[in-house]
């Protein structure tokens, strides 16, 4: 009676079922591979930046022992106080002294490849510790970009040979370059740093926050709590939703046509950059703020009104404090977006070469993403590593901000 199988489970059915299960497996594998691919790209991106960038935190330096007891160099405490010590030391012939000892230690050829500004590092060290001029000291001074390339096995044959000779003597080495975090832009990859751009970013972000946060929160409060339902508020809502989706470069065009027309002398200043980014960030804050305010239960408002609070008091004493964590989360996400933004700032002239950190909101500045963009245009091989290092710093800031937003969300998430 083997033929008496259930009428539905015919061989054709079995074959179909097998096919259907195979299709099911394929489909699931397809979904999994989509995710694996996306994550793999992310890991490859972060990994290649990290591997490239690790070298960017270092620079090739050469060992130069200097015997100051033999050189007639003195330090005027007054000059150190005035901040003119470097010029005073230059006048006393410090560059020549450094050059002399460099020839002693590295030979003519090696000394040639000492960065031309290397003596400034010595001068800075003396200004830091005037006692140095009484004794012998060993300095690690930056090598020229050519020699640094030679050390990496690139560039001309001569440089590679010189680099390997010096390296085998232990006189040339890659050292962690703390100055990368304290210097500003320069033309030589051995001399560049990100502090100038980072400070520009910080100043720009302060302006953005000071404008976008109050305006965004107040607008969200108005729309959610007080606005009558009419054509005007519909228009406001529509324009906020549209602004959130306008390409960022359009905000740059607005900044160029309006802000720079009003403030022509503040070209490429953090003030203008911050104002432009604030307009871009504001809708994000409004939308996040409205959601947070909407989540506050009406019973809180009713309770406050019932004991005699005015509508303004209800909002500022009760609703706003409860909605604030949600608003802050949205603000941090909006600020993170603004921090990574380049295109609108490109329009308003923040792409200038700025060799010293900006000292006010109105002085010319550049920002971190813009610095990455500018360095990415440099042909010099040394800039590739520096660019990746700057990217690591930028990504670290963004991850920190996003992490903070997630932490705040988890910490203050409430079920009413």
């Amino acid at each position: 009676m083997n033929e008496q199988i259930a009428p539905t489970r015919t061989p054709a059915f079995e074959a179909r079922l097998k096919k259907r299960y195979a299709a099911e497996k394929r489909f699931k594998a397809l979904g999994l591979s989509a995710i694996v691919f996306s994550i793999a790209v992310l890991i490859y991106l972060l990994g290649s930046m990290t591997i490239n960038g690790i070298g960017g935190f270092q620079r090739a330096e050469m060992e130069v022992p200097i015997d100051f007891t033999q050189a007639a160099i003195s330090v005027d405490p007054q000059a150190i106080e005035d901040g003119t010590a470097v010029q005073a030391l230059q006048a006393q012939g410090l560059p020549e002294v450094v050059q002399y000892y460099a020839v002693e230690a590295l030979g003519e050829e090696g000394a040639e490849e000492l960065g031309t500004q290397a003596w400034r590092d010595v001068a800075a060290a003396i200004a830091e510790d005037p006692g140095l001029v009484q004794r012998q000291a060993t300095f690690w001074l930056p090598a020229s970009a050519d020699l640094a390339a030679g050390y990496d096995g690139e560039g001309s044959q001569d440089m590679q040979e010189l680099a390997s000779t010096l390296a085998s003597q232990g006189k040339l080495d890659e050292k962690f370059d703390a100055g990368f975090f304290t210097r500003a832009d320069a033309t030589n990859p051995q001399q560049v740093g990100i502090w100038g751009a980072l400070k520009g970013s910080i100043l720009t972000m302060i302006v953005t926050l000071m404008l976008a946060f109050p305006i965004g929160v107040l607008a969200a409060l108005y729309l959610e709590e007080y606005a009558p339902k009419n054509r005007w508020t519909d228009l406001i809502e529509l324009s906020i939703n549209n602004l959130a989706a306008v390409p960022s470069i359009i905000f740059g065009l607005l900044g160029l046509a309006v802000f720079l027309a009003i403030f022509p002398s503040y070209r490429s200043a953090p003030l203008i950059g911050g104002m432009t980014l604030a307009l871009m960030t504001m809708p994000v804050i409004v939308i996040a703020g409205r959601n947070a305010i909407k989540a506050v239960p009406p019973s809180i408002r009713d309770g406050a009104l019932a004991i005699g609070a005015s509508p303004v008091q209800v909002v500022f004493h009760h609703v706003l404090p409860l909605a604030l964590p949600g608003i802050l989360t949205g603000t941090i996400i909006g600020m993170a977006r603004a921090l990574g933004e380049t295109a609108p700032l490109l329009m308003i002239g923040m792409r200038a070469f700025v060799a010293s950190p900006p000292d006010s909101f109105t002085s010319p500045a550049t920002v971190l993403p813009m610095q990455i963009f500018l360095w990415s245009d440099e042909i010099d091989r040394g800039f590739v590593e520096r660019t990746s290092a700057a990217i690591i710093v930028l990504l670290a800031f963004l991850l920190m901000m996003n992490g903070l937003a997630i932490y705040l969300r988890n910490k203050f998430e409430k079920k009413w």
């Binding site: 996306s38 930046m49 305006i215 977006r337 990415s376």
Partner: protein
Amino acid sequence: MSPTLLLLLALGLGLAGWLAARARAWTFRRASTSGRLASLPSYHAWYVALWIVLPVLAFVAIWSATAPGLVTQSVLASPAADQLPAFGFQRQTILNEARAVATGASQAVFNPLAREFVEPYREAISRYNWIGIIVTLLIAFLGGAYSFLRLKPDFAARNRVEKIVMAILLGASLVAILTTIGIFASLVFETVRFFGMVSPIDFLFGTHWAPDPMANAANPDPTRYGAIPLFWGTLFIGAIIAMIVAIPLGLMSAIYLTQYANPKVRAWVKPALEILAGVPTVVYGYFAALTIAPAIRDFAVSLGIANASSESALAAGLIMGVMIIPFVSSMADDSIAAVPQAMRDGSLAMGATTNETIRRVIIPAALPGIVAGIMLAISRAIGETMIVVMAASTAANLSANPLESMTTVTVQIVAMLTGEGSFDHPATLSAFALGFVLFMVTLALNFIALRVVKRFREAYE
């Protein structure tokens, strides 16, 4: 006087007014027999502080916009101004140099003529600084005195403050409208100027794009302003190549995460995907230009395609697609989650496998939301700037070969506005016309997408 210092001054004066008014209100309270005021002392304080800070803020905003112009005018009134070259680039450079030295921004001048202007600049700047400070103080004093004198025990300070607060709230929400108007007005204004020089027909339907910023501005060659190759490049990179990457990957990720993945995996994978969306576009651009574009070129050359460009449309499009994946996936995620569970259960109960349920039931039900998400993704891709600026080229090219170099609207906006051209030149103004087209297209895409989402949401409520 920098705006920062004036702002600090305004806030300081406001604080002083706040403290003074609060003290005043407290004396009222102590003096009154009932120990009650019409409003709490802090409302008196806020009333006075707002009366000081708001007018001063308004003045600072106007003053910081007008003062530099006034300074320049008074410098030009000095006798040395006769030696200046007539209007033009050189004149501006000299003035800028003199101003930089006068404000201490730079140490010395290159142009000897500029030295003449350092002193006038220094004088004018300090004169206008003083005017600024004095007017600020005057306004603060007047506002403070007016409001302070109105304080009385029965003064309804709270109602006044609340009225001002409501006005501020309304003003804040109007900023969005003002921004929209500002964008629209500035784009339209410059676009109309551009169309005065180059006809819209030539611009929108011409196929040759090669603006020359050095050409005679008064008589531009309209055949060089045909934007079709740019529109095509934008569409090809942003809407075709990027979407070929983003739609399948984003959609399949969303399906896997919502239908198959266990919640623990989902809790880790979803934020990881969102990191992709949080990476700054300049980093993607660098990645595309440094790693992906050379790899694609080498691959193409190894296949025997000799003319493969190192700035190919493919490299920019692929990376842009990767950037868009989390965007598509989260939109699809939302609309899949909005499909009622009963529909899914019904299909499974009929004996369908999970993938049949997904393909025949869930996706069709979620389709409007998915389509809307794709439209938003396209609008984001065609507005994206840095990836294409760094990985695509500036050569306009009307071609369907993804290995060739191509340029986009955003690349040309950047190229036209960061060049040397003057602001009256059609090449510079063409950037605004391109921006206007971009604005209108992204706006239309967003608008349609939002309408689709809205209608779709209503279906299940």
